[in-house]
């Protein structure tokens, strides 16, 4: 029963969602299943948060190498949850001054707002911005014209890099759009690469991914794939 019940729930939910898509009469069943999903997602968030805290505390207790990072993670997690839940620094709404917690948790000037503006935003922006440096270093170290395929890739990369800036337009500005050679304009070549090669390749990949998702979903709905139950062996 411990394994059968989750299988039945997963199968029923999957079949309901499929039915809701194809039969308008069952659309409300799909809406209800969607609401259950959101409640379960909230519960999973609590579980995930608790698990995160448990793992970090284990690392700190075991004094593993790098346990300082685990301490930072745990402290950041606890502080953020605390200031958010307790609405630290949030003023009550004007229409409900007697209710201390009536204000919005992300109100300007509150502690959570401060954490977002001066910690989360600069840190996430920096993490994303660092990619430019690593890509530049990788471009110098690894982009080698070792064979025909690599050379084609390099050439395409250079065309697209030029096409995404004014340099591409400037280099081939002498070729007019009406000219039979207009296809050699860098901006036109970039559009060609994007519209023909990239689109067709991505389309094929997406179809493959979609077929894989359908196959995996069917296996889960029919109970053939039980990996989501958390055990490596099936019954």
């Amino acid at each position: 029963m411990k394994r059968t019940l989750p299988l039945l729930i997963a199968s029923a939910a999957g079949l309901v969602m499929i039915a809701a898509h194809f039969f308008p009469e069952t659309q409300s069943w799909g809406d209800t299943a969607g609401k259950w999903f959101k409640i379960l997602a909230a519960a999973a968030l609590l579980l995930g948060g608790g698990n995160l805290l448990k793992l970090q505390l284990q690392e700190i207790a075991a004094q593993k190498p790098g346990w300082g990072y685990a301490a930072i993670t745990a402290i950041a997690f606890v502080v953020t949850v605390t200031v958010g839940l307790l609405k630290v620094g949030v003023h009550p709404l004007e229409q409900f001054p007697e209710y201390a917690w009536s204000g919005d948790y992300s109100q300007n000037g509150s502690a959570l707002w401060w954490l977002y503006e001066y910690v989360i935003r600069p840190v996430t922006t920096t993490m994303y911005g660092m990619l430019a440096f690593y890509v530049a270093s990788a471009a110098f170290r690894a982009f080698r014209a070792k064979n025909l395929e690599a050379s084609l890739l390099l050439g395409t990369a250079i065309v697209v890099l030029l096409g995404r800036t004014y340099a591409g337009e400037w280099l081939t500005q002498g070729i007019s759009d009406d000219s039979p050679w207009s296809g050699l304009r860098v901006d036109n070549m970039t559009s060609l690469i994007q519209d023909i090669f990239v689109t067709s390749g991505t389309r094929a990949i997406k179809i493959g991914i979609a077929l894989g998702v359908v196959a995996t979903s069917l296996k889960i709905i029919l109970g053939l794939d039980r990996s989501f139950l958390g055990s490596g062996s099936g019954d």
Binding site: H21, Q27, G30, D31, G34, K35, F37, K38, A41, A42, L93, D104, S106, W113, Y116, E117, I120, R121, T124, T125, M127, Y128, G129, A132, F133, V135, A136, S137, A139, F140, R141, A142, F143, R144, A145, K146, L154, A157, I158, L161, L162, R164, T165, Y166, A167, E169, D187, S191, Q194, D195, V198, T199, T202, R203, K206
Partner: protein
């Protein structure tokens, strides 16, 4: 006898080759052993100097951008438009100018704006766009011309539920006001009642989910804004499921240029030229990347021509 040895890594090459000696000139030695911190410094200067100097370029509006511009331009006054801000601070550098341009264009056309987000970072991300509406278009009244529906949890389920029945998820707006008390929400049973969807988004949930759960099943009119790295994943949907797409900050700059052509006064407004200002650093950084690729290959090819094989 000629000795050929494999080279494990071009940057850690030792002097090997014929008779055990490979004579590299100083330039090749410099390229092959270049400390990557010099590359980091070059990239920093490539971005910082043009930004500080205010380097900008004239942008030509490409057909792909024109499709997006013309779609919004053709919307009649009072049309209902949903804009879903599905990006975070990490991608705001590329997405924020795009989103601001969409909002500004919709305000210029006097469209009714229904603003929402599927990301928990979304509400603070939406603040600059809301400031544009409040400061630059004071005639637009909250609840009549625009509404902030806030963050909706549930990823693609939120889209599905909203397209099916608004009452599933939308009970109050971002400020806690009941939906039933907001004039522009009267008569709206689901998001299918909207005339246009605009989704500047990166990651999950984002443009792909909007296409899969809104545009494709319900055949609604949709425009997408995406960062450069995600553009290839959305291209297959253009133009069937998605009318048009602004992919990367380059197209955002073109879109801003198109808006400036329509209203020249925007040229002097810093918030209306954010993407245009980013094209200067992009120009220099891309040239740096191309230069690094060429230099790296010069070193590699000179090695190969000297007879050292991997």
């Amino acid at each position: 006898m000629e000795i050929r040895q494999s080279v494990p890594d071009a940057l850690s090459v030792r002097d090997i080759g014929v008779d055990g000696k490979f004579e590299m000139n100083a330039f090749e030695r410099l390229l092959l052993r270049l400390d990557r911190r010099w590359i980091f410094l070059a990239m920093f200067l490539a971005v910082a100097v043009p930004l500080l100097c205010g380097l900008t370029f004239p942008e030509k509006v490409t057909p792909a951008t024109k499709v997006v511009f013309d779609t919004i331009e053709a919307m009649p006054e009072g049309s209902k438009v949903v804009i879903s801000f599905d990006f975070d601070p990490a991608s705001a550098g590329e997405m924020a100018p795009m989103a601001a341009a969409f909002v500004r264009h919709c305000c210029e056309k006097k469209l009714k704006l229904y603003l929402m987000t599927l990301w928990y970072y979304g509400p603070p991300i939406m603040e600059p766009s809301l400031s544009i509406i409040k400061n630059e278009y004071p005639h637009m009244k909250y609840g009549i011309d625009y509404v902030h529906l806030g963050y909706k949890a549930g990823y693609q389920v939120a889209i599905r539920n909203a397209m099916s029945d608004l009452k599933n998820d939308f009970h109050v707006d971002h400020y806690g006001t009941a939906i039933s008390q907001i004039p522009m929400m009267q008569g709206i049973d689901s998001l299918r009642d909207m005339d246009l969807f605009i989704c500047p988004g990166s990651g999950f949930p984002g443009p792909q989910e909007w296409v899969q759960f809104a545009a494709a099943p319900y055949h609604v009119k949709m425009l997408i804004g995406s960062p450069g790295v995600q553009t290839p994943t959305i291209l297959p949907y253009v133009p069937q499921q998605v009318i048009g797409m602004i992919g990367s900050v380059k197209q955002a700059a073109e879109y801003e240029q198109a808006l400036i052509v329509k209203q020249p006064a925007l040229k002097n407004r810093p918030s209306a030229t954010e993407a245009l200002r980013r094209m200067g650093p992009q120009f220099v950084a891309h040239l740096l990347m191309i230069g690094l690729i060429v230099l790296g290959n010069v070193a590699y090819l000179s090695q190969r021509s000297a007879g050292v094989q991997r």
